[in-house]
Symmetry: C2
Subunit: 293 residues, 2 copies
Amino acid sequence: MNQSLNKLLSTFNHILDQSIEQTPLHTQLEESMRYSLQAGGKRVRPLLLLATLHMLQPNKYHEGLKTAVALEMVHTYSLIHDDLPAMDNDDLRRGKPTNHKVYGEWLAILAGDALLTKAFEYISNDASLSAEVRVKLITALSQASGHQGMVGGQALDMQSESQAVELPILEQIHLHKTGALIRFAIEAAIIIANVDNETQQQLIKFANHLGIIFQIKDDLLDLFGTTEALGKQTGSDDANEKSTYATLLGYTQAEHILATHVEEAERILASLSEAYNTDDLAYLLKLFYQRQN
Amino acid sequence: MNQSLNKLLSTFNHILDQSIEQTPLHTQLEESMRYSLQAGGKRVRPLLLLATLHMLQPNKYHEGLKTAVALEMVHTYSLIHDDLPAMDNDDLRRGKPTNHKVYGEWLAILAGDALLTKAFEYISNDASLSAEVRVKLITALSQASGHQGMVGGQALDMQSESQAVELPILEQIHLHKTGALIRFAIEAAIIIANVDNETQQQLIKFANHLGIIFQIKDDLLDLFGTTEALGKQTGSDDANEKSTYATLLGYTQAEHILATHVEEAERILASLSEAYNTDDLAYLLKLFYQRQN
């Protein structure tokens, strides 16, 4: 990772580490919340938010820190609930036992609930932003993560298991299940930075390409990655009889679509680079399609 | 119920019924959310919010409607998750099969997640309130329902099962698990209405008494009510080996403590009645301690 992104990441991690305060109730709830929050993800969503904001207003990217933490909380809660026995039933996540494997099912459900709740508290309490901006961010985050967004995509995904799924349905699943939070990362930077319409439109298109790139790469890695590199079970899509870009289109065609979206995303960055320093976003784009885990 | 409360309730139900819009994803998620939301609870939390606001500003109680719906969404999500096999494992709620019995476990988990998310969207989108008030409400609701509040109380409750629990722990459980949302109902009215400090203090004390009254009554009903009247399994505290006010203190002592809190709450209402019409709150107080389900 380059120096600029490294700095964003370490500032982010510092805030994240302090985000769950202990309560006097003496349960394992906070420990369980922190366990998953600090299990060492790639932090691509918060980095995308902060890098976009840093590009738009280099001296005030700090204004996005708490929203970036909230975004990672929502992502983390969704992983905890998705891993539950009643959902994907995964034992391993990021190379570590999943939350319910360590703390038991009921505490995993509650830790997920509490992280989701905390995300909204974190934005509503952010004194570095005006009340108007906070309200806009909360609306955008709730719509990206609720029944119209991520949770809706997860419901469609679960419903489609053990079924032959056509490409349009698969696209709907990913647009919602993973795409919505990736779009929110960039949308949040736009809400905070208040940029012109043209730049907004380009950034939103960029976000859409990124979402698809992320998912196709995920499918390819599930097919060809190793458990060791991924830190989670590979071949689980196959075991759950899930349709993926790779199984629906074949490896070659999936790679081809991936390349097309990468080209489109690069074209947008080239256009944005006339007014902005797009180095960090270019780096993140590469991270999205070249990642090995 | 008196005429004034009936009017509040029917206005509330009207908004509630329209609160979950359909998405084009063709899953059962929204149906499952509505199933629990419309399963006919007593609506004591939203009524408490609206009655308090109606007392403080009779002509502008409408400003609390969306927050009242959000509060009922949070309460409903908590019931769905609490009823899950990994938690209290209840089959019956409000006389109907619980959410996971109808829709399956994974959809019940997701419906709960989506209702919690929707609650924050609902407040953040409420055009009848200023952004400042919305942000305050979201902070208060997230703290009342998160790891410092309701979810923390549920974690302590689950952890205390099959254990002999002392009275101070039992009080901590109820202060958080049920008390926090009841307090929020009154806190929300205070945030929206902007009342003087003295009235605020009295209302918050009233809310604290109500929370304890609600819980002791719940314990007594679990011990002596019938499944038919309650619409849920009675004796489930006993089956789960839960300590309650009734089992810890005995029936007579629990009834005595209940009466003491009712007297204190009535005293506060008498004092408030010098400046306000407290009829609706007096009615709700009676509903809290005389209810048979």
